[in-house]
Point group: C2
Chain length 243, copies 2
DNA sequence: CGACAACTTGACGGGCGTCAACCGGAGTGG
DNA sequence: CCACTCCGGTTGACGCCCGTCAAGTTGTCG
C-alpha cells in the first residue's frame, strides 16, 4: 500500500478502472500479490511461442508487440501494447503460448503469478469482470486487424494502424494523437500491416505529401489527426472505449 | 431436464466439456435457463453491427460466420462457426456489437438471456472458466487469421482456411476432414481470405490440379488431408485443442 | 423454359513485392 | 578526431500476384 506500489501499478489501475468499477479493496488485493518488476531492453522477448508461462506480464512503461510467424519465415505483428496493458492474459486458462511477446522499446513490466491472478479473478468478481472484458476487447481489436489487413489498401491500412496506436496511447493517458512520436520502425509497421518495409516507406511518403504525417523529423508524427482518420476510415467504436 | 433439452444442448455441452470439467449440476443449471430455440434461413442475420443484443446465440445446427465491413464497402469475414459454438459471448460484457453475425446455411440456435448467462458464469465458476477460456481461444484464432491474411499467399491462405474449418468441424463431432462437404461459396471464401471470388476460383483450380481437393462434384471436398495441411502450413496448436 | 446464383475462363492492368544501390545518423574503436 | 560499421530510411527499376472487367457455362428452382 506504499505510495511507490501505487505509482508503479498506476497505469494498470487506470486501465482496470476503465474496464470495471474496481474499488480500493480490489486495488489492495492486487498490490498484495507477490510480483516482481522487470526492466527489459528493446527487442527483448518476454514470452516465446510454445512456452508455458507461469507469470503474467503487465506493462508499466514502454511499448511492446505480439507476433507470429509462418513456416516460411513471414512475420506478422498481431497487436501493439501501451502501458497498463496486460500482455498475456490468455495464459490464465491456456497453458501454451501461441505467439511471441516482444518489447519494442525499453520498458518495465510487473510479472504476476498466473495462479494468483486466476484466484483473484474468481474471488473478486469485479476484477474478474475487468479482466474478462479486457480479453473481449482484445478479441475485438484482432477482428478489426483482420479487416484492416484483409480489405484495406496499403495507405489506409497504415493510416488505420497509426490511428489505433495513437488512440490507445491517448487512452493510457500518454498524450493526444497530435503529440505522438511513433516509436516504430518502418519494418515493424510493415510486419503489422502485412506489407513490406519498402512499400511502407512509399506510403508514408504519400501520407506526408498529403500533410497527414510529418516526415522531416523522425520519429514520425501526426500532423492532421482528422485527415488521418478520414484516410484510414478509422472508427474507434471497436475499441469499446476502454482499450 | 427432458431428454429433448439434453439432445438440443448436446453440441454445446460437448464443447463446454472440452473447455472445462463441467458436471451434471452445471449442465442442469444451463438447462434451467430461460431460452428460446430459433430456426434461421441461409443468409439471415442474427446480430448486426451497432446493435445492443440482449441474448446470446448458441449454435445447435448449421454454419454461421461473423463479418465486418470497411466504409468503402469491403466485406471481411472474421470467423466461421460450427454447432456448439457460442456466437456472441462478447456481449456478456460489451454492450454494442462491433460486427455482424450471419447464418451461412439453414440452422437452429438457442438464444440465452445475457443477464442470466452472466449470472451463471459468476455463480458456477467452472462454467465461467469454460466461457472465458472459449473467448481466449476465439482470440487466438483471430490472431492466426491476421497472420493468414497478412502473410500467406493466396493458395496457402485458402488451404489454411479450409484446414481450420475441417478441424473445428471434426472437433464438433461432425466427421473427419476427408468427409467434409465445404458449405461455402467461393465468394464467402474470398471474403474470409481477403481475396476476390475470381482469384479463389483460380486457386481452387490449382489445389484441385494438385490432387488436394476435389472440384468435379460440388460442394468441394478434401481429397488429400495431409497434402492440404502441408500446402497451408497448418499447425492446429493455435486452436488449443478445444475449438 | 426462363431466371438467377454460382462457377469458370480469358485478357488486361495495377498495386505491391523484390532487388539493389545509396544516404544519413548513432555508436564504436583506434 | 576520424574511420568504420550498422541499422534504418530512401529511391528507382522491374516484374509478378492478384484485382478488375467481361463473357460464357452450369445447375437449380420456379
Amino acid at each position: 500500500m506504499a505510495a511507490d506500489d501505487d505509482d508503479a501499478f498506476g497505469p494498470l489501475f487506470r486501465k482496470l478502472q476503465r474496464l470495471a468499477q474496481i474499488d480500493e479493496a480490489d486495488r489492495q488485493a492486487i498490490r498484495d500479490l507477490p510480483f516482481i518488476v522487470r526492466d527489459v531492453r528493446p527487442g527483448e522477448y518476454l514470452v516465446r511461442e510454445g512456452e508455458r508461462p507461469t507469470s503474467c506480464c503487465v506493462m508499466l512503461a514502454g511499448y511492446a508487440c505480439r507476433h507470429k510467424t509462418t513456416g516460411g519465415g513471414g512475420r506478422q505483428i498481431v497487436s501493439f501494447h501501451v502501458p497498463g496493458d496486460i500482455l498475456d492474459l490468455q495464459h490464465l486458462l491456456l497453458p501454451h503460448a501461441d505467439h511471441n511477446l516482444q518489447a519494442i522499446t525499453a520498458g518495465t513490466y510487473a510479472c504476476l503469478p498466473i495462479a494468483d491472478l486466476r484466484k483473484i479473478a474468481v474471488e473478486r468478481t469485479t476484477i474478474g469482470a475487468a479482466l474478462w472484458r479486457d480479453t473481449l476487447i482484445d478479441a475485438s481489436i484482432f477482428r478489426e486487424w483482420v479487416l484492416n489487413v484483409g480489405r484495406r489498401d496499403a495507405k489506409a491500412r497504415i493510416a488505420h494502424m497509426i490511428c489505433e496506436f495513437a488512440t490507445r496511447r491517448a487512452a493510457a493517458g500518454l498524450g493526444g494523437p497530435e503529440q505522438l512520436a511513433l516509436p516504430l520502425t518502418q519494418e515493424q509497421i510493415a510486419d503489422a500491416t502485412g506489407l513490406t518495409a519498402v512499400h511502407v516507406n512509399r506510403m508514408l511518403a504519400v501520407l506526408g505529401a498529403e500533410g497527414l504525417v510529418s516526415r522531416d523529423r523522425r520519429p514520425a508524427q501526426i500532423i492532421d489527426w482528422q485527415g488521418l482518420r478520414r484516410a484510414a476510415g478509422f472508427d474507434p467504436h471497436y475499441l469499446h472505449a476502454a482499450a
